[in-house]
Symmetry: C2
Subunit: 465 residues, 2 copies
């Protein structure tokens, strides 16, 4: 068989990934045609050589009509492992249609942590039915895992780990690894535990091999380890791995005993998920809805637009207070969107930096005041620059010095307010225990719109009439 | 010495990280006071127990006046390794003040990949001076690395790797590892290479240990490896690691020979950086400017606001076309911001999903049309819902059926346009080779504002007069 990765012609502009990433638009089209024609030989030829992760991408790229036919190919042309890589919406969609036996087969094929991902998302009845079919030992394992909070270290960890007593020598450790003990097939290091099963260090297998047999393990172990409580939120786990460059860390129960292990490759997924969540929330989308059906997408986005409508009406009410002024000087209506737009954009800049800094714990009580001072200054300087700029534009446009002065003053006030609000809103939400990524944006634009229009139109009322 | 991680009292609301993350606001304040009083004993007591990553966070939390004094403490109270964890702006700030000898000492203390991070950011003259001071071998190594493009696999990889010939047995491999060959101190697996130095597989050390000595290595090696070209962009490297759940991958030169290795823990930093870039660009900030000085921040943000001002003026010009209508029916001016705001927000929702999907290669030519159909539908349905809602509000507010109908119609058109534009703009930019995260937002609001105002005021002109 030819190398599957080289057999496929990559048609993206950047050919950096050519031959390394298995999926192409051509391939998707060919598979679609083969499925439509129920040409199993061709489906197999195209799909089987792909990595399960690429098969997952392929399934996602297929239309839902094609997807309905996947069950038939599962376990033969399509690798059941692909479920570990599917987007949640598509996975749920596929799982719904699966017969209970097919579902059990899929779960059976997966690693325990990937299987757990699927089991935890099942409806209660389906979950119970699936667990019922399992051998007692396996069922107990999943039931224990499901007892930990969602998105906690307990859900993320692998239950298989390699540990040795602290009084062993290098030779004993090597012999233990070489014996056919029930060790995981692949691991980076051995945890060193005390008699009470509390982890005290870790020895990388590569380092172990480089030392003489009589050397006590405790002399060569790395003692700077981070013990992850089994209930810790996965976002905090990811933070610790990134902060300290961890490769693996033991997970401990309330009594401090080791119960599992989290490795950096599990954390990569969490980091992706958490970042994706942040970026989507900042954009006013609750979750990645690329694969959601129209109705679900409409409902989710609509509820956010409703909140936004309420705040937009608030801004309109402010404008409504100045109808008489606008009727007399219609230039005010023409310039209004500039005030709103500049304030909203400047505030969003500060807000984005602040939300990121809060997420990585770089914005704290100890530097908040300093950052506030800086944002004030940045707002004031840019306010001045744009006041002169926009004032000049307005003067030549409407030939009225008063209008130029009013829009200039509004620019300064609005940019200062925007920068300060862009910092204080996420800080305040974070302090109140509310995720700043979700609601900062809508509060910010409300503030910049309301204050922006109030000041601009109010000042115009005073100066022009 | 007491456990440094437990000695520190965490004062954040979420005490999940208590004892695990070393830095607290109290600690920052105490260090600040000790530095101000030049009380080295207290500085040492507070700082020395901290992990270099926490020391880096501490330095970032200190004021720049405190930071100016850090050089004095470097290598004693403060660990030079902290430079590997510093934010770029702070690092440059500190490095500028360092004496050449102190800089050489810092670089000497770091791993080669972290040292490279620092060296590549130095001014040309400083870089040459630093390299001049190094032993010939080391200098050649850095000069070779600097020859690779910035943010490429060549810059990211470690040059030390463990490789064995394909015809070896398990016993030979173990003996090799146990001999005092120049192997890296810690590694996960051994690369298996052919006589031409081309990598053909990888064996995890843990797996190697579990097999009998006479077994040929090629029988137990993992052959599904991804070969990373040394010039590949780090974003593509991160994509491959995430896509295929890689732990480590060999880096190869043009001739296919192994020249280095990239491990997943290096990639965690890249993933963070790339996500951070995306999120900041979407927010209209070119780079994380939390630690940048006021002038630099003002200039960077100002240039973006200037682009925004130009587009806002465009929207104003559209409004200017309808001054006569607004003068007669001032309710139009009151309702204008609602049209702009709803269009902008709905478009941003679609745009955020699209930019994310493009980044993770889930939005491609094969599903673009399907997604477009969906966005059209979502926009139309939400448009209808909000047309009824806002039409009713407008009717009761202004007691005029015509105004209610105009704003309702504008709502439908604007939400459909917003959703379609929110998809097509990033798609088009991506196809043209332009990063969609940077400019999608500003083009989108220009489109939604211009079309929104044009349709709303234009229709009003037809219906009301």
């Amino acid at each position: 068989m030819a190398d599957p990765n080289l057999a496929v012609v990559e048609d993206r502009e950047d050919d950096d990934l050519e031959g390394l990433y298995g999926l192409t638009d051509d391939l998707v089209r060919s598979v679609h045609a083969a499925i439509a024609a129920d040409d199993r030989a061709t489906v197999r030829e195209l799909v089987e050589p792909l990595h399960a992760a690429d098969q997952a991408d392929l399934v996602q790229a297929l239309s839902s009509a094609d997807r309905d036919l996947i069950e038939k190919y599962l376990g033969r042309e399509f690798d059941p492992q692909l479920f570990a890589y599917l987007d949640e919406a598509v996975r749920e969609d596929l799982l719904e249609d699966l017969e209970p036996e097919a579902l059990a087969r899929v779960v059976n094929e997966l690693d325990t942590d990937d299987a757990l991902d699927i089991i935890e998302d099942l409806e209660d009845a389906d979950q119970a039915a699936l667990l019922q079919q399992m051998p007692v030992g396996e069922r107990a394992l999943y039931e224990e895992a499901l007892g930990y909070p969602e998105e906690s270290a307990g859900r993320l960890m692998r239950r298989e780990y390699a540990a040795i007593p602290i009084d062993w020598s290098v030779g004993q450790a090597i012999d233990y690894m070489r014996s056919d003990a029930e060790l995981p097939d692949e691991f980076y290091g051995l945890f060193v535990v005390g008699p009470d099963h509390k982890p005290t260090g870790i020895v990388m297998t590569s380092r172990l091999l480089r030392r003489r047999r009589y050397v006590p393990v405790k002399n060569i172990m790395e003692t700077e380890i981070k013990l992850i409580p089994v209930t810790m939120d996965q976002e905090d786990v990811a933070f610790l791995f990134h902060q300290y460059g961890l490769v693996e860390a033991p997970v401990i129960d309330d009594a401090g005993r080791i119960v599992g292990v989290i490795t950096v490759d599990d954390v990569v997924h969490v980091i992706h998920e958490e970042h994706e969540e942040d970026i989507l929330k900042l954009g006013g989308v609750q979750a990645d809805d690329l694969y959601e059906a129209v109705v679900a997408t409409t409902r989710l986005r609509g509820s956010w637009l409703l909140v936004n409508l309420a705040t937009a009406i608030l801004a309109s009410i402010v404008i409504g207070l100045f109808q008489a002024e606008i009727e007399k000087v219609v230039a005010l209506a023409v310039l209004m969107p500039i005030v709103a737009s500049m304030g909203g954009n400047a505030g969003t800049q500060t807000l984005t930096v602040a939300v990121r800094a809060l997420a990585v714990r770089e914005l704290t009580a100890s530097n908040a005041l300093r950052v506030l001072g800086k944002e004030l200054l940045v707002g004031a300087i840019n306010g001045l620059v744009f006041a002169v700029l926009m004032g000049t534009v307005a003067y030549f446009w409407f030939s009225e010095m008063e209008i130029a002065l009013v829009i200039g003053a509004a620019m300064i006030v609005n940019l200062v307010v925007a920068n300060v609000a862009g910092l204080l809103i996420p800080l305040g939400l974070d302090r109140a225990g509310i995720d700043p990524a979700v609601s900062s944006g809508v509060i910010l634009t409300t503030v910049t719109d309301v204050i922006g229009f109030l000041f601009f139109l109010g000042l115009a009322g005073l100066v022009l009439f």
